[in-house]
Symmetry: C2
Subunit: 200 residues, 2 copies
DNA sequence: CATTTAACTATACAGGTTGTATGACAAAAG
DNA sequence: CTTTTGTCATACAACCTGTATAGTTAAATG
């Protein structure tokens, strides 16, 4: 990594942080290449040089917040032997990620619904989560083989819904504490796999 | 209702239909007052005369699709004596509404997350749905009084999450048929109130 | 019937946006 | 020492929203 690239990356990060701050401030109309550049203390053309377009900047911002977290903890969840424990951890880790920057994620998703270019990069990450859901259901199916096939596919869809950002957000928006939201999600997930928790 | 108002209302409707069509066409960037006016065969200034601003047009569009449907069927659901039946119908009617114009609703909600003015009008309707959820849980609590209080409040939140557009949309987006989605929602709602359906 | 009013339109404008073209510049890399 | 890379300045085209001003026509009103 050359000295120049290091400096450039530091600049990139400053820009992304400025973009984040402005995306959080009340109205999306305030979010323009000009204001982001000014807030980052950088020329507007630098943004175009680094991110090519406004959509490119938003995609980069999405990757930026997605990369910190996720990977490590999620992989660990899948190393647990018990599929119930894995399910438990999977939900908890994802909820933690959604909770880490809720307002920002909500706005990024909104932009993704309106701009097909940004939308594609979100759908990609969605697909990875779906794969996680499928693996969990398959493992559970292997452990407790009383589940007929049409059921399993439905379970995957339901689990994906329960682990989505939108689900977490609508639960959290009514003021619930993080732990309570996770408890609700766990209980709903039990219903998906017809599991009755031992205690209570 | 004067003859003039009738003609004006017909124009309003033409504009709203044009706005709907353009909001559905791929990219939100194509949605401008100019293109909407052209598609409706009307001057751009007529839009400002009728809706005051772009946000006003989007709010009106939201009211427009919200008014057809909902009211009648929802009220009927609450007339059922059995709270389980009411819950059942409540979910089915709302799902039907979300399904009636999914793409459009998704985009309108996205705009609402980015524009605080449009957002307020969406939050209002959300509050009405929340009230419905509360009534259902309270009725159930009255019928089957084995539910302690912290539980009931949680049930309301969970039910609101399950009946939200976002929940329906993420389930439907994976290709499920409407009836299947409703079945999934019913099953998850049973988990909320710890209800076991009589026949498997 | 005469007059007012409501809905709509035409033109023009101010101030904002994105994205590109062109060229310069300094510091790091080779 | 020469080249490359990241940044910046200025300028521009083509949009956008929202407003001001004034004109038109058909319906409502007295």
């Amino acid at each position: 990594m050359t000295r120049r690239k290091v400096a450039a990356n530091r600049n990139r990060e400053r820009i992304l942080l400025a973009a984040r701050a402005l995306l959080l401030s009340q109205d999306f109309s305030e979010f323009s290449m000009e204001t982001v550049a000014r807030q980052a203390g950088v020329s507007r053309l630098t943004l175009y040089y680094q991110f090519k377009s406004k959509a490119g900047l938003l995609e980069a911002l999405n990757d930026f917040i997605a990369r910190r977290g996720e990977m490590g903890e999620l992989a660990e969840a899948f190393r647990a032997g018990d599929p119930i424990r894995t399910l438990h951890e999977f939900i908890r880790v994802l909820a933690g990620f959604w909770d880490s920057d809720r307002e920002l994620i909500r706005r990024l998703r909104a932009v993704g619904s309106l701009d097909s270019e940004v939308g594609r990069s979100l759908a990609e990450r969605n697909e990875r989560r779906r794969h996680g859901c499928r693996v969990i259901i398959e493992r559970y199916y292997h452990w407790y083989p009383m589940l007929p096939e049409p059921w399993a596919s439905r379970a995957v869809d339901t689990l994906q819904m329960l682990t989505s950002f939108e689900t977490f957000d609508t639960l959290a928006v009514s003021g619930r504490k993080f732990d309570e939201v996770v408890q609700i999600l766990h209980k709903q997930a039990y219903a998906v796999i017809n599991y009755t928790p031992p205690s209570i």
